[in-house]
């Protein structure tokens, strides 16, 4: 059973909750109240919907991938979140949270970013609304997603490098939370996925479910067929949650694809649902990568947005109840899928998204004849340099 809202402890059954320092708890309570109020207020929806239409470019199109469908022997549709302003689904969330920040009377925003897409989307919303913005980004990610770092700076955002841990998304989230503990009176933390303590997983899901709601209209059996299968990549899980949620509990097969990195057997991956176990990370009870003593392990993925040892708690809930299937794809398979979509359809997808496509390509035989919808969560411009470097290193 899908839950409209987590329970009054912020839980999706045993997952979620609020494992946060006391200093933040009053702000989390305020955020829950304020978001619930805004979400019940037609005025807030009007304001948000107008921005989503005129500024973000929603609804995003659904495109039938003609040549790739033929090649794979399936009926493949792409939900084009890459065509949303700033080039990924992340902006659906940041527009909503930035408007909420204004309602709460706060004027400073912080965020974490891995691939830089959430950072760019936050920087964009803040530029639009005149809010001060600081984005935490791991050192390693600053290097591999340099284009997005420059974009954030042009948008007037301060990018703060994070050197702790492996210098990736987990460390950026931790750094943002540490900032927030000190600045919570004036600052809102726009978290970038369906992760973190309640109310974030619920709020971000509500802001992202527009993807799946649009798809229901676009693939309604008249203009286009109903999907048999919907596939999305899972880092923190926001694009997957956004497209899955309206379909959870229906007869549509839902497949979430995590990062298998160098391969699950190497231990170097980001597959928290497939290969992790329950515990607490970043304020939430969920699946995570941890050792026997409960130390959180470093994740690995070629894709900065999937290089995270946790996942949103509602996905943990879906996994245990088998409402969604979760699987994984390696670095190598993902890079191949980038090239496949680029050469056959003229679309360069983000490395994150390429994981979902790679699964479809790999399973093409078992999917033969079926109608498959892929959440094309983002465009790949940011990854071009990284892929060039990889090819150079191989030669």
């Amino acid at each position: 059973m899908r839950l409209d809202r987590p329970d009054n402890q912020g839980r999706f059954a045993e997952y979620g909750g609020q494992f946060a320092p006391e200093t933040l708890m009053p702000a989390l309570e305020e955020l829950e109240t304020e978001f619930a109020k805004a979400w019940d207020d037609p005025g807030f929806h009007n304001e948000l919907n107008k921005l989503l239409a005129d500024f973000v470019g929603r609804p995003t199109p659904v495109y039938r991938a003609e040549r790739l469908s033929d090649q794979l022997g399936i009926d493949l549709y792409l939900k084009r979140e890459d065509l949303a302003h700033t080039g990924a689904h992340k902006i659906n969330n940041t527009m909503g949270q930035a408007l909420l920040t204004k309602r709460m009377g706060k004027n400073r925003v912080i965020a974490e970013t891995g691939a830089g897409q959430h950072g760019v989307a936050t920087a964009t919303a803040c530029a639009l609304l005149g809010q001060e913005c600081v984005v935490y980004m791991g050192e390693k990610d600053i290097e591999r997603q340099a284009l997005n770092v420059q974009r954030m700076r042009m948008l007037g955002t301060e990018v703060r490098p994070v050197t702790s841990g492996a210098g990736t998304l987990k460390d950026a989230v931790s750094a943002a939370m540490r900032d927030w503990v000190a600045t919570v009176d004036t600052t809102h933390y726009i978290i970038g996925s369906v992760v973190g303590p309640h109310p974030f997983p619920w709020m971000v899901r509500e802001l992202q479910k527009v993807i799946g709601e649009e798809l229901q209209e676009q693939m309604d059996g008249s203009q286009r067929p109903h999907p048999d299968v919907i596939v999305a990549c899972v880092g923190g899980g926001s694009n997957a949650m956004g497209i899955f949620y309206p379909y959870v509990g229906s007869d549509v097969r839902l497949v979430g694809v995590e990062a298998a990195g160098y391969g699950l057997e190497t231990g170097e991956h980001g597959a928290s649902l497939v290969a992790g176990s329950p515990g607490v990370i970043h304020g939430s009870m969920t699946y995570l990568l941890q050792d026997v003593q409960g130390q959180i392990l470093e994740a690995h993925s070629i894709s900065a947005g999937l290089d995270y040892p946790g996942v949103g708690p509602e996905h943990a809930y879906f996994k245990d109840r088998q409402l969604v299937e979760y699987t994984s794809i390696t670095d190598e398979e993902a890079v191949e899928a980038v090239n496949l979509l680029a050469s056959v359809e003229g679309i360069i997808p983000a490395l994150e998204t390429a994981h979902a496509l790679a699964w479809i390509a790999k399973e093409a035989d078992s999917l033969r004849g079926q109608t498959v919808a892929l959440n094309l969560s983002g465009r790949g411009d940011k990854d071009v340099q990284q892929i060039i470097d990889l090819v150079d290193a191989d030669e």
Partner: protein, 268 residues
């Protein structure tokens, strides 16, 4: 040791018109053996009890000094098991009531009941779990309670009246009064929050309030001790250990620093 040992410590300090000095130190720093010696040196210099820190890879409430200390301790082989061993030796050798300071995931991994059993065997008086607010505390508090210990709960400058009442009603062995917004680390100024935090708790209960976060210098400790029943100093002491080249040098630096803090928390 037990929760009772802590209660006795606070009543003795009240009688002596001073606050209790409860230093924080990461367990296993600079290595497991040297670590016990550091706690013993602090006890000899006037520490009344300890927060024994279980090193954790993702310490959300900690600033750069304790983060780096945790990484170094983990690299030197420390972890939950080693920290419990160290705690046991520290309590046995110093007789000072001690609590562990940890994050919730290692406790969940072991299970609250086993964790409480192990703490009790090691002679702990209780636990501080930095990312466990009162709302999620019940299973952990009950497990510690069953073993004669207690779960410390937090009150921060941002804590609402309703939340503060929940904290007091859960009857922790002491309330951790968060002296500063933000993570652990040294600050330039003395906290302006402690007086009002203690007064707010006192309206409901006589439970001891111990001030921590951002208290580093003897002056800051003196100012906190004027209102609070105890003072926690962490980063300033951990930094001295991180800067020392040998265990001997770390011991010497801690003796001086803890001695000065112990003088500062007398109210006469």
């Amino acid at each position: 040791m037990s929760r009772q040992a802590l209660a006795e410590l606070f009543s003795r300090c009240r009688a002596e018109n001073r606050a209790a000095l409860l230093p924080y130190m990461t367990a296993g720093l600079p290595d497991p053996e040297g670590s016990v010696r550091l706690f013993v040196a602090m006890a000899e210099a006037g520490a009344d009890g300890f927060e024994v820190g279980i090193p954790y890879a993702d310490p959300l409430m900690d600033g750069p000094v304790i983060q780096a200390a945790g990484d170094r301790a983990l690299a030197a082989g420390s972890g939950v098991e080693v920290a419990l061993d160290i705690l046991e030796q520290v309590v046995a050798e110093t007789g000072r009531p001690s609590v562990v300071m940890t994050y919730v995931n290692p406790v969940l991994r072991m299970g609250p009941e086993v964790f409480a059993q192990r703490l009790s065997q090691a002679g702990a008086s209780g636990a501080i779990i930095a990312d466990l607010p009162v709302d999620e505390a019940l299973p952990f508090a009950s497990a510690l309670d069953r073993h004669g210990m207690g779960l410390v709960l937090f009150v921060a400058p941002t804590t609402t009246e309703a939340r503060l009442e929940n904290v007091v009603q859960a009857s922790p062995p002491f309330v951790y009064g968060v002296a500063e917004l933000g993570v652990t680390g040294e600050r330039d100024m003395a906290s302006s929050h402690i007086g009002s935090l203690v007064a707010r708790v006192r309206k409901h209960s006589e439970v001891p309030v111990v001030a921590g976060v951002g208290i580093a210098t003897p002056d800051q400790a003196r100012s906190a001790a004027a209102a609070a029943d105890g003072v926690i100093v962490g980063s300033a002491l951990v930094r001295r250990v991180m800067e020392a080249d040998t265990v001997d040098a770390a011991e010497d630096a801690l003796r001086v620093a803890v001695g000065e803090l112990a003088d500062a928390i007398r109210r006469d």
